[in-house]
Amino acid sequence: MHFLKLILRNTLRHKLRTGLTVLGLVVAILAFGLLRTVVDAWYAGAEGASSTRLVTRNSISLVFPLPINYQERIRRISGVTGISHASWFGGVYVTEKNFFPQFAVDAKTYFELYPEYLISPGDMKAFRTDRKGCVIGRKLATTYGFKVGDTIPLRGTIYPGAWSFTVRAIYDGAEAGTDTSQFFFHWDYLNETMKKAAARRTDWVGVYVIQIADPDRAAEISTEVDAMFKNSLAETLTETEKAFQLGFVSMTEAIVVAIRIVSFVVIFIILAVMANTMAMTARERITEYATLKALGFGPRFLTGLIYGESLAISLAGALIGIALTFPVADQFSKEMGTLFPVFGVSLDTVYMQVAAAVAVGVVAAVLPAIRVARVPIVEGLRSIG
């Protein structure tokens, strides 16, 4: 009890210094948490991927499409329980700044492969029966204020022209990590429109999404799909949905690595600040520690006081920093719009924040604790006055 009392009172002894150090820790822990959340958001697509879905794309590049007639051939492969397709549309809503992913999909099959997109049967029916209808995610609807029945105009880039869609359904995510920032519309509508505008660009799709019954057979089925189209006009590359998503992440790997490094640099800087605070504290109180030693208190008690004070400061900063991470991340997510489809502070991030704070508290106290444990009593007492 006296031990804790001493730690607490020592911690509050220099209120300004402790306050500024805690403030520094708050900023560092908050920045660390926010940066880790950005990294998590980068991987959110891969994390949310299903192990029973494969993605088949053109083996040369994602830019090149695949013929629509591959669909039925793939469907016949043993172990395939469903197949659909999606094509990247790349339209612009008002300005380029308003980015959100848009896909032309097979309205009849696509959503059966994605049970995590929750749509009421009535809305689904409305979408399927309206050729110019679209389905949008809840986050997208919230960001731009879209409602069922609204018209969304898009300016085509890959598929030129002015396009217009009516919102027929808004889907929710089955889990917190489900991407609800997407926009889906009928591939049939796109294909028919292209027949009039550019006939040679019809009957092509971007990727096939394949549902398989047994995740253990993913590699085998992928090989079978790719072998089927070997030496054809459009050879395929089939991989798990997770690998497909990670392929996107790897394109921006340098940014993710930079963010990771910065997050640790932030912690290192606050560690230096904290170590300086603890060193000053121990130096100022060396006479008190020497007195305690003279009275018979051992090095364990004294180093315990230093570690306790250091941890009290770092954990106070961590507590406030973690509490602030949630509202700041929320605001950050709003500011970013649909750039990060899934942006939330995970429990793992909170654990890492706590671990970082504990590490800072412990490491910052090491040198002062060693000094106090080793300083001869006479030398410590001599530094008085």
Binding site: T291, A294, F297
Partner: protein, 232 residues
């Protein structure tokens, strides 16, 4: 005539030097003398004479280069750091020139501090601390922090802290050095009472001849050697 009390401290051929850069500076040279139980000794001498070093050695907060220093039959020069810490906690009460109280603890908590190293239960600790503070006349300052007390009052708290564990030996390094004459006289009277009424053996380092006159014996140190012994 009463027989002389037994020697509680036996110092034999004690030598201590410090290293200053490449030089070795001798501080104490071949010191030998006894201190008897219940004695009140003043150690005097000019600055650098080695009196504080001798006090530190007797109190077990420094170690000699050679010689033996037996307190109650134990040669404390041979004890390890951990054993010395336990020995100090049980046998020595410290009174410093600048009081050396913990500024974040109240007078009560400062006096209670050495008792935390004992197995005394909380209620007994409280009783002892209240009694000690009453003995030094600070019953009404129990909850005051050192910064809220005068120098004399702080030194009285330090004295209460020094005798709270009932040690055999009290060591005082310039206990009146930072006090005005009235407060200094109070402190000296208190030490004299601890010696006469509680039988505490007291070793006090002082520059002040007036303070030294409170002791039974005055030992002078000069250039690391015991010089003259005055008895009164």
């Amino acid at each position: 005539m009463n027989p002389l009390p037994p020697a509680i401290i036996e110092i034999r051929h004690l030598t201590k030097s410090y290293r200053r850069g490449d030089q070795i500076v001798p501080v104490l040279t071949n010191i030998s003398f006894d201190i008897r139980s219940g004695e009140f000794i003043a150690l005097m001498g000019p600055s650098g004479s080695g009196k504080s070093t001798l006090l530190n050695l007797i109190a077990g907060i420094d170690k000699p280069d050679s010689g033996s220093l037996r307190v109650n039959g134990i040669d404390i020069a041979t004890l390890s750091e951990g054993e010395l810490a336990d020995w100090r906690a049980a046998n020595v009460g410290f009174i410093f020139q600048f009081y050396n109280l913990m500024p974040v603890l109240t007078a009560f908590e400062n006096v209670e501090l050495p008792l935390l190293l004992t197995r005394l239960p909380r209620n007994q600790r409280r009783e002892r601390v209240e009694l000690a503070l009453a003995m030094v006349g600070l019953t009404d300052r129990v909850e005051h922090y050192p910064s809220e007390l005068s120098g004399g009052q702080q030194q009285r708290v330090a004295i209460a802290r020094a005798f709270i564990t009932d040690p055999v030996l009290l060591v005082a390094d310039e206990p009146t050095g930072d006090l005005d004459r009235t407060s200094a006289d109070d402190i000296l009277a208190m030490l004299a009472r601890l010696n006469s009424e509680m039988g505490k053996t007291i070793i006090m380092v002082t520059h002040d001849p007036h303070a030294a006159r409170s002791a039974h014996l005055i030992r002078h140190l000069d250039k690391g050697e015991l010089d003259v012994t005055l008895e009164h």
